[in-house]
């Protein structure tokens, strides 16, 4: 595809919806997953450092 220009690249031979729809969904979900996990990690650290009494840790036997 070295001869095609940028507009052809975005157009994807008419299949733009499908190709970019797939890639977009993949990128979006993976990004959301990472961001959400990082956010959860930060929240947990805050909760724990707020003190042992103020957090509801899970009880293990």
């Amino acid at each position: 595809m070295s001869s095609a220009g940028w507009s052809d690249f975005w157009h994807m031979g008419g299949y733009a919806l499908y190709v970019w729809g797939s890639l977009g969904m993949c990128a979006a979900t993976l990004l959301i997953e990472v961001l959400w996990l990082a956010h959860r990690q930060r929240k947990l650290i805050e909760l724990i450092s707020a003190g042992p009494d103020s957090d509801a840790g899970e009880s293990s036997p």
Binding site: M1, S2, F9, M12, G13, G14, Y15, Y18, V19, G21, S22, L23, M25, C26, T29, L30, E33, V34, L37, A38, R40, Q41, L44, I45, L47, I48, S49, P52, D55, G57, E58, S59, S60, P61
Partner: protein, 247 residues
Amino acid sequence: MQLGAVNWFYFAAPQRFYRLAGQLLPWCFVLASLLAVWGLYIGLWLAPTDAQQGEAYRIIFVHVPVAWMSMVVYLAMAGWAGVGLVFNSRLASMMACALAPTGALMTFLALWTGALWGKPTWGTWWVWDARLTSELVLLFLYIGFMSLHAAIDDPRRADRAAGLLALVGVVNVPIIYFSVKWWNTLHQGASVSLTKSPSMASTMLLGMLVMALACWAYCIAAALLRVRSIMEREAHTAWVQDLARSA
């Protein structure tokens, strides 16, 4: 337990593993990003247009890697669940629980990209292809694992039950795939196979492999990140308190 000179359980201690995971994380993410950029460059730019399917075939550069990963992650999940059951290790079960949502996400993406590939090439959003149908059943297996673990309050029992389910599932997955394949070929008239990808030029194969490695690195990174927050939930232990104080 020492098997020879190597202590295989060195990292089974939570503090050590937490530190290891923290060190590995950024490298895995960097590796995943670099490989993804390279793979997408090959797939979207370098690889030639297919004669039959046009540009739409480029979806295989994400569809095949995520489908492979959904199966690899299930195997890894069942493996860690087995380790947790046999060696009575909480950390191994936590790893299995950390892998499950990532695997389910990979399965969902395989189904989504498969549908988006099916529409322009075969005319329908959903095709009862053997692989897609098995992916659907695999998604149900992932969801079953996560639901079972969430439904049990006692963490030890939850680990055990979900671990057993994962092991039973991993034995079943080849059987399910085989039976669905049989079912698919029996009803040959109605079905078309999405697995008839264009004959692999070496560029395409390279692109697919690179993307597969990128997905693998991503899955490892996401699982390590998730297992760290699962471990932090054991907030009453001293090492977590120390960690929080130092953070």
